[in-house]
């Protein structure tokens, strides 16, 4: 049987080729399924295009890019395992297929939709769960069948990190997996930001396969093969992790994007609440709208598949005429980009917790204030090192959060007065549970069989990358009273924690 070669032009990788062999023919058939084509209508970065107009790229393009990158990584694996004749095509193909279909289950606006699911305990809003179901049973599963009866299940296992942790799986899930290597480059390209550059060719050129021990707590399990960087890639590894940090700060957690996501979460939660309580007529949506179907039957896989970004954003104008005030208001805001205004609490607290010199006029009018202020400053500088300042900042943040929650509960209204966003991401988690090869970047210090070490143990730069922390509150622009209350809370807690 002969197969046709296929080619796709991609803005990041240029040519993504599907050679005329059986495996790539099957991958091409997977791409033709309606479930994979649906990814064309799910943006990779959700609401980010309200900040970066170019960031309208889809999960379809990203999935192809991950597949392409996974093949590059797999070539490294092949080069290593071929020496011992241990390379297994089936295992490699399983991981490559997993790279292609890993994002199938994303809902509209991806992560913002998952937040709704978390809040309302909706199982089908979890993209990992939906991805798993779609691969094991349905169009994609049928498309994968020519590669073997159990192939689809094996692919699903690799994605949920359920299968044996081996070097093939590391292509899909590790600190150097194809997913991250694609999205970091693609998101940078499509947003137009010049932060977050990574030296991919040098990283790949220095990537080897090595054996590292792993265990559970203090109990050893054995050794596992994973990707290990060569000693000449230390600066590229630092740039890779710094780049990720910068992308978090400037793209993934951009204040406007997060503000839109907050509105979206409230909007969808309210629609689902109304539908569940028999008030569909207040949503502005026709009872046949996919979102209403989902609200009625959130456990139904078809309900989630009927939704994508365009289905939801296309309905904003209908929702704008809703009887319910929140739905009407928030859908208009999202449609017209009239977001709540952001106050960056962490930034405000950070500024207030720094030593601020007194103005000239204060010094002239009140010399006593000057001496008190200098004393306070001296004591601050002598006792508060950087760690102390961060601790004070965290403590003040926690206090502010608590008071904002009390405020939100006390002032509960049909439309929330404040929307709070608090998030934290560790760029390089040394360990989550047991430190292991899946969450480490291991580096060889010398040539040959030298024992790999954690890159953080040899790089002061990586060691110094603190977790990215965001703490913001969003307030309706004309609500000066609420804004003043929030500012007062910040001021009081900064003073208390100084």
């Amino acid at each position: 049987m002969s197969f046709k070669r296929q080619r796709i032009r991609d803005p990041l990788h240029n040519l993504i080729e599907f050679p005329d062999d059986h495996f790539h023919h099957v991958m091409w058939q997977v791409i033709q399924t309606s479930q994979f084509q649906r990814l064309r209508r799910i943006k990779q970065l959700g609401f980010s295009d309200i900040v970066y107009p170019g960031a309208t790229h889809s999960r379809f393009g990203h999935s192809l890019g991950v597949f392409h990158t996974a093949r590059k990584l797999m070539n490294i694996v092949k080069g290593h395992l071929d020496r011992s004749h241990d390379y297994k095509d089936t295992d490699a193909n399983t991981a490559l297929a997993a790279a292609l279909v890993h994002d199938l289950g994303h809902g509209p606006y991806s992560h913002a939709f998952e937040e709704v699911g978390k809040r309302l305990n909706l199982v089908m809003a979890n993209h990992e769960k939906v991805t798993d179901l779609l691969i094991r049973d349905g169009e994609v599963s049928i498309a994968l069948k020519p590669l073997g009866g159990g192939f689809a299940s094996d692919v699903a296992d690799v994605i949920k990190k359920a299968g044996p942790s081996n070097i093939y799986a590391a292509v899909v899930s590790s600190q150097f997996d194809a997913d991250r290597l694609d999205y970091m480059q693609r998101d940078r390209l499509m947003t137009g930001t010049h932060h977050g550059v990574i030296d991919l060719d040098w990283l790949l050129s220095n990537l080897e396969v090595g054996k590292v021990p792993y265990g559970n707590d203090n109990e050893p399990v054995g050794e596992i093969e994973t990707f290990v960087l060569g000693p000449k890639a230390i600066y590229a590894a630092e740039a890779y992790l710094l780049g990720l940090f910068q992308l978090y700060a400037t793209v993934y957690f951009h204040k406007a994007t997060r503000g839109a996501e907050k509105l979206f979460t409230e909007l969808l939660a309210k629609i689902i609440h109304l539908v569940k309580n028999g008030s569909t007529h207040k949503t502005g949506l026709n009872e046949n709208h996919p979102l209403i179907h989902f609200a009625i039957d959130p456990e139904n896989l078809q309900s989630i598949l009927a939704m994508d970004d365009s289905v939801i954003s296309g309905a904003f104008s209908m929702m704008a005429n809703a009887e319910d005030r929140l739905i009407s208001d928030f859908s208009k805001r999202l449609r017209d980009r009239k977001l709540y205004k952001c106050t960056d609490i962490r930034e405000c607290l950070s500024q207030k917790l720094e030593y601020t010199p007194l103005s000239k006029s204060t010094r002239r009018k009140n010399p006593k204030a000057l001496s008190e202020h200098q004393g306070a400053a001296q004591s601050k500088h002598s006792s508060n090192d950087e760690k102390g300042r961060i601790e004070a900042l965290d403590r003040a943040s926690n206090n502010v959060e608590k008071r904002l929650m009390d405020f939100a509960t006390e002032k509960q209204d049909e439309i929330p007065k404040i929307l709070v966003d608090k998030a934290e991401r560790s760029i390089y988690k040394l360990f989550e549970e047991s430190k292991g090869p899946l969450n480490q970047i291991m580096m060889k210090l010398g040539a040959g069989d030298s024992k790999p070490v954690d890159v953080a143990s040899i790089s002061q730069v990586i060691n110094a990358i603190a977790p990215f922390k965001a703490f913001r509150v969003y307030i309706e622009d004309s609500d000066k009273k609420t804004k003043a209350t929030v500012e007062n809370i910040i001021k009081e807690e900064a003073t208390r924690c100084r």
């Binding site: 978390k118 296992d157 949920k160 990190k161 359920a162 299968g163 044996p164 942790s165 590292v212 021990p213 792993y214 265990g215 559970n216 707590d217 203090n218 109990e219 050893p220 399990v221 054995g222 601790e391 965290d394 403590r395 926690n398 934290e424 040394l430 360990f431 989550e432 549970e433 047991s434 430190k435 292991g436 899946l438």
Partner: protein
């Protein structure tokens, strides 16, 4: 509903697990699986768990543990593991203000505390898979963790049998 004191913060609830374990828990994985078993038996603090590499894991619990360290309720000291990685020892810095611990909670915590961490991981994973509707959670656990199951699955089954005997508000899946 979980049996918790609603006036306590989640950081305190996370710290309570360590306090109720006699003031010390060895290992992050052990702490996570211990908390998961408490959660599904109705003796937890309403932490939500999802499947990760080491079985059921709660990001929320991990964050609250960090907060509990920050507020000096507990300490976490990292040690080098015998296999070259790292593991943590958590110690309570304050006694449990409630004083009395529910007997079932104490029994679950003690069983988890004394278990081998890999055995505990396998038992908690099987429970998680059963809760997810898997019809043969032990086989699935073996399939997902073959290297660990080869040596520790029988021990995990024995541990689970002992856990099942504890009279908890919500029964463990009968697997």
């Amino acid at each position: 509903m979980p049996v918790v004191n609603l006036n306590k913060t989640h950081a305190e609830m996370a710290a309570d697990i360590i306090r109720d374990a006699g003031g010390e828990v060895v290992g992050r994985t052990r702490l996570q699986k211990m908390a998961y078993l408490l959660e599904i038996t109705g003796l937890g603090a309403d932490f939500s768990f999802e499947y990760r590499h080491y079985g059921p894991y709660s990001e929320q619990l991990a964050n609250e543990i960090t907060a509990a360290c920050f507020w000096d309720m507990i300490s976490e000291v990292e040690h080098t593991a015998v296999w070259g990685g790292s593991y943590s020892i958590f110690k309570a810095l304050q006694s449990n203000p409630k004083g009395k611990i529910k007997p079932a909670r104490k029994e679950i915590i003690d069983l988890a505390k004394d278990a081998n961490p890999i055995t505990l991981e396998l038992a908690a994973t099987a429970a998680f898979l059963a809760k997810e509707g898997d019809s043969d959670p032990w086989s699935e656990t073996s399939r997902r963790k073959p290297e660990k199951a080869a040596k520790y699955l029988d021990d995990a089954r024995n541990l689970y049998a002992r856990l099942l005997k504890v009279k908890t508000p919500n029964p463990l899946p009968a697997i």
